[in-house]
Amino acid sequence: MDSIINPFSSGTRLRDMIRAIRACKTAAEERAVVRKECAAIRAAINENDQEYRHRNLAKLMFIHMLGYPTHFGQMECLKLIASAGFPEKRIGYLGLMLLLDERQEVLMLVTNSLKQDLNHTNQYIVGLALCALGNICSAEMARDLAPEVERLLQFRDPNIRKKAALCSIRIIRKVPDLAENFINPAAALLKEKHHGVLITGVQLCTDLCKVSSEALEYFRKKCTEVLVKTLKDVANSPYAPEYDVGGITDPFLHIRLLRFLRVLGQGDADASDSMNDILAQVATKTESNKNAGNAILYECVETIMSIEDNGGLRVLAINILGRFLSNRDNNIRYVALNMLMKAISVDAQAVQRHRATILECVKDSDASIRKRALELVYLLINESNVKPLTKELIDYLEVSDQDFKGDLTAKICSIVEKFSPEKIWYIDQMLKVLSEAGNFVKDEVCHALIVVISNAPELHGYTVRALYRAFQASSEQESLVRVAVWCIGEYGDMLVKNVGMLDVEDPITVTESDAVDVAEITIKRHTSDLTTKAMALIALLKLSSRFPSCSERIRDILVQQKGSLVLELQQRSIEFNSILEKHRNIRSALVERMPVLDEATFSGRRAGSVPTTVSPSTGASLKVPNGVVKPTAAPLVDLLDLTSDDAPAPSSSSGDFLHDILGVDLSPASGHSGTSQAAKNGTDVLMDILSLGTPPAQSSSSTPDIFSPSQNQKTAVVSLDGLSTPSPVSARAASPQATSSIIDLLDGLGPSPPAPENNGPAYPSVIAFESSSLRITFDFSKSPGNPQITVIKATFTNLSSNVYVDFVFQAAVPKFLQLHLDPASSNTLPASGSGTVTQTLRVTNSQHGKKSLVMRIRIAYKINGKDVLEEGQINNFPRDL
């Protein structure tokens, strides 16, 4: 033992200190010992004690490892490095690596010592310096010392060459500009026989390729053959005890070589081709009963997946992964899952075959495997398997670990949202998730659910009853409670009257007071959070109007809440109470059902996600015939947001403050009293201003139905302000005029005359898109009996003198529209308008009568073999489509 601690044999103080520290029974004792030691070391530093300097620094390193501050020892490292002997230098460099890092200014002082040591005659000292440089080198040091390191790549002793190679990696990672100096000496290392030098050389070349395309080209051309041969030699080498791991010679070198071949083969068919044979050999001949063999196979599979396509090899690789997946060793299964994620982009079908096994892995007891498997399942889901897979995942949610529920819930919600084939399924699945793991469901997911519910009027009754049941069963799930309370507030009457009963439902008897119970329980339960309680208060207010028989009871609950210590709840209950007591006449108008929430707006607002499949690319601006020049880079969301926010949405405006406020503001300007009718027209005006050139079709054809309920139910704001009842006639008479005059002022284009209503399904053609090279005209027709569907005949005309080949037209629409594209009449467009191509589009507008069509288009074609891409958006559709 004593010989091992040789450098400190002049005194056993380091051992003594470690013993003393280990003997401490409490943390306080330990601190005392450390304090005493540190004081002694500081004293020695102050006295500039030389004899024990390296012993003191060693002690400091131990103290540092225990977590105590040791900054005062940094300068001692530098002094030791500058001393002459190897033992001092060794401790000095060790201290340098442990106590300092590349960010300390002190490090500047060490560059000179390093330079001297890199040129030292003693190769062990050179080794020390290289090691320190490799571990803590900063960009500045890299620049200063790169020539020394480059020279050392050719040093006679292999121990120095391999250290210099790894040092070079650090240098080029810090300063990629230096890469080109290293290309030639690095290539020379690839011819070495010494494994240490070879493996570090391969690693250096791999890193060079990462930072320099020049290096990549060079190695691809000059070294692929050499590397293939080296790998062949290593793979076929006879038993070599020095490098043997479980019967395989140097698996580390195997792996480094395979990794470098991957870099060279990626994107280069010739290089890939030259390595096919050796990859096939490694993939078939490597023993897979030991970890080392599997590590090589794993690396080999990754290389096969990444290099240019070779069908046979890929089948081999997928088979290896299949074997891995059924392995009993968890590590092997883990890497299989990891690699299948990459394989999915290569051969999704092959991965789908392992779906059942992967699904089992989601239920593994090991969190690492679960996490990988869940991500893989997420990638595997498509329209055809979403139902069974979601069912499996939701079933598993019941029994899964608490700390996995968060991940699992998020993924299920995302799957359901993305692939839901129908609304009822979406709602059903979300309710199951909310009941099982409502506390893990994020707020925005709940909001999305509410938006969907609100957009499915035929399911309102079903949903509110299902939520009522779910609430009874699992009222501890916060998100479930919120959604339930919201829906009961909105659709409470449907709950009680069993409106819209579906065949699949069991009948349920809920009294009005049962429904009020839900809100009351929620308010009174102390675990409910503020938002939930506030939502319950609103639900109560709404129910007070829906259920007159319960209004006394509701008032009592609200009165109790007036004493709430939470300001928000107190304020709400006081306000609501006064509505109940003093403003009975407007109450029913105030608590109208919420307007249908707009799905496109909502999805657009969520994290800026683009709701359609075509992602806007290329910064080129583009001319749309209605005079708007809009950069195509502007996300489609903007477009959707704009139209949906400002769309008149006549039937839903009753509670929409934005519209009403705008309407009230605008209507005096157009010379009307602030009536709700005028408000409507005011909004239209605004709409027209914003959408520039949308034909001012009079929307009154769809509005009458909303005027039929009592007059003052129209808008909350208007009613609250006590404005007089509307005078529809004057407003209606004045509005078209006002609208069209503004249009004229703004663009004077008047793209199409206002479509007269009740004129049958005849719509004017529009020029949907026109650029210097291309014109697209749309002709519209309606299929009789289904006003939601519009058939558009698109006619493409080539305005240039070149023939367009491979002509492809693509279109994207927001969520409330469904688009079906028939094949085009041809994919070649003759030059100079000497012929046209036509294509039929069928658009289904689920918000027919509320929203106009909008579309974003992309046209790709080739002129003389050159790709051309044009993009645009169309918002000059006739209004009533």
Partner: protein, 142 residues
Amino acid sequence: MIRFILLQNRQGKTRLAKYYVPLEDSEKHKVEYEVHRLVVNRDPKFTNFVEFRTHKVIYRRYAGLFFSLCVDITDNELAYLECIHLFVEILDHFFSNVCELDLVFNFHKVYLILDEFILAGEIQETSKRAIIERLGELEKLE
């Protein structure tokens, strides 16, 4: 690339910590604490890999000691597992039947050994014999 190497005992005492990326001292202590918490309670049947922030930790337990390597997410997990084992074999050979106390009292030697095995976060030498011979030469210089 290896980000850092930790040797910890079951109680979470750090016996060796080597960082190949710069971290503040406070951050290092946090990392050590978190890694220990991640690995210490895992079932031996579980994988030897845990995801840690944006990287992953490959760990292996030998008696009461945990050897943990933090590597890039794209690195070959199985290879690093083999790498830990090789390091342990070298330690075992050098200290002839290594135990935790050897590592405590000779921590500076352990760093010396590690520096001959791994440099700049990459493997430097794959032959146990070559490393042991080199260490023998260095010993003579002390």
